[in-house]
Amino acid sequence: MNMTLLSILALLVFPGGLFLLGYGLAYEYIDRKLVARFQNRVGPRWFQPLADVVKLLAKEEIVPHGVQWGLFIFLPVVALAAALTAALYVPMAGQVPSYSFSGDLIVTIYLLSLLTICMGLAGANTIDRFSMVGATRVLTQLFSYEAPFLLALLSPAIMARSWQISEINIYTHNNLWFVLTQPIGFLVALVGLMGKLELPPFDAPEAETEIVSGPLTEYSGRGLALFRLGKDVELVIGLTLVAAFYLGGIANPLEFVLKTLGLLVVVAGLQSLFARLRIDQTVGLWWRLGALLGLAQFLFVIFWRLVLK
Amino acid sequence: MDSQTALQTAEKLLEPYGMEMIRQDDLRLDVLLSPDQLHEAVKALHDARWGYLSAIAGVDHPAPCEDAVASGGIDQEKKGQVEVLYVFCQGAAVLTLRVKVPYTRAELPTVCDVIPSATLYERELMEMFGVEIRGTPVKDRLLLPDEWPEGVYPLRKTTMIGTACSSSKDEV
């Protein structure tokens, strides 16, 4: 594949690297500001996430003993890389996705879960009890929300008769919004997104008052900055995916900004509404409610397609 | 039952054990006991469901100064006494069981078998006054730091550490 200047540009600057990182930071700011405003607080200034990341990069990197040095250093890098590559298949900023092939939906979801798996591995890598428990929680939560989230994204794919995100995007663009025809799917996808990003009420893995900060307890400086950036990027990609599938596709940048911002407001509202669920309650909620609803939605769509064909 | 009747029932209950009963004021009754009668008295109170154990307080009575000076103060360690107060409360009535224990043989039976939650008070007593509680379920330190020297009981008058004037760290 000839790495033309355009594709390098796409990878490094526009829909890929710098733009996405900046956009992720902006969304993290909006999210923190909204949650603070819901809690009647003033909330951070606009450049806060940028200042946090730059400060963390400038801090000393402590590698605790009893830890595989290589794994400790490279896991954050892999996590951020996975998140960034996932962005290439998603209609970022209203443009056509820079790379798309049939079946890239599955690859994107896999790449997003790779980030969470890296987080879990990072937790299990150290001997510190808190990160050990955080790691087990991250992975338990991963297995619990992965299936419903996948089902919720597959239903529109079936309606659009293709696994390619760009095609699904076009299909949803010129048909009725899926949020109206498949409301359950939208709900499960949105709540699944909150589980994937470990936002409250599903933030058991890094419950500050119980296990310090879960798998990231031992990380400081560069590693922590990369993980936080990975999380921000994952937030943006997640929102774009759900917006592309359920809110009638993304055709131009304005639509992209409006739809993802709307979803972000809803997510921030949900965040400040609920108490943190215990890990067994989250798993219970997901398997009993999430999976069943997702499955029902899935079967309904298949049945609809068979009848409609 | 109001406090007067409560105190009367307490007096009747402790009649066989108490060496001496003093009525401090209309709400407080003190009963002097010897160490070996303590356990039965507590058991009797507990079985009659008389109030609850509010606290176990230790009071140090070092040997009176004159004979301490006469004996050169070395065996002042020997002659002092620790008075242990078991305070039971029922509404406004307060019943105190007073037990005197000499430094030399400072040991008491535990009451944890009757009142399980007394374990914390007993541990604090052991640490602060050096009164050995026979049979208490947990013996290790409650309040003092791990590196605190053995045998130094802070609340005894004889140990003059960390007095307000000199916060001498080296003794610690």
Binding site: Q48, S213, L224 | P154, G162
Partner: protein, 170 residues
């Protein structure tokens, strides 16, 4: 010669960015080394809507690895002393200490009690002292702002940290 000059102003720019970032996102961790918790609830009050330190980027972190500023209260009881030092050692460079409350400064009311070391600066190098029993939330925020100003004017000398190392061995 040229690259040296280049290096110097390149270094200066980098240093300015670093200081800007450190001044604008000081993450804090709170440790109570024996305080009566009057100061602790005032520190916590600074997070709540009326004072809300998140406006300045101050976030209370759980793990010492994530924190830059150690907000410490209490006259350092003997039991809490080695834990306090261990927490300080776990914090990555550049780290700072704010002693809050008159207990942390001089042992306060508990000066002379047998189980108390006295003041925090006998155990850690302290950058900012916030007197008061307890200091008002505004006073604590003012203390943090003073720390940030001292950062802006120049990173406090490094030997302050080595002083601790020296003390450790002694």
């Amino acid at each position: 010669m040229a690259n040296l000059k280049l290096d110097s102003n390149w270094q200066r720019i980098l240093e300015k960015i670093r200081t800007w970032a450190r001044v604008n996102s000081p993450w804090a961790i709170h440790f109570n080394s024996g305080s009566c918790n009057g100061c602790d609830i005032e520190i916590l009050a600074t997070l709540t809507p009326r004072y809300d330190v998140e406006r300045f980027g101050i976030k209370l972190q759980g793990s010492p690895r994530h924190a830059d500023v150690l907000i410490c209260t209490g006259p350092v009881t003997l039991q809490a002393r080695d834990r306090l030092i261990r927490i300080y050692e776990q914090m990555p460079e550049p780290k700072f200490v704010i002693a809050v409350g008159s207990c942390g400064l001089s042992g306060g009311v508990f000066h002379g009690c047998y189980n108390v070391v006295g003041s925090i600066d006998e155990v850690l190098p302290v950058n900012v002292y916030v007197p008061g029993c307890p200091p008002r939330p505004e006073a604590i925020i003012y203390g943090v702002v003073q720390l940030l100003n001292s950062l802006k004017s120049g990173v406090p000398k490094v030997e302050a940290v080595t002083a601790l190392a020296g003390k450790q061995e002694a």
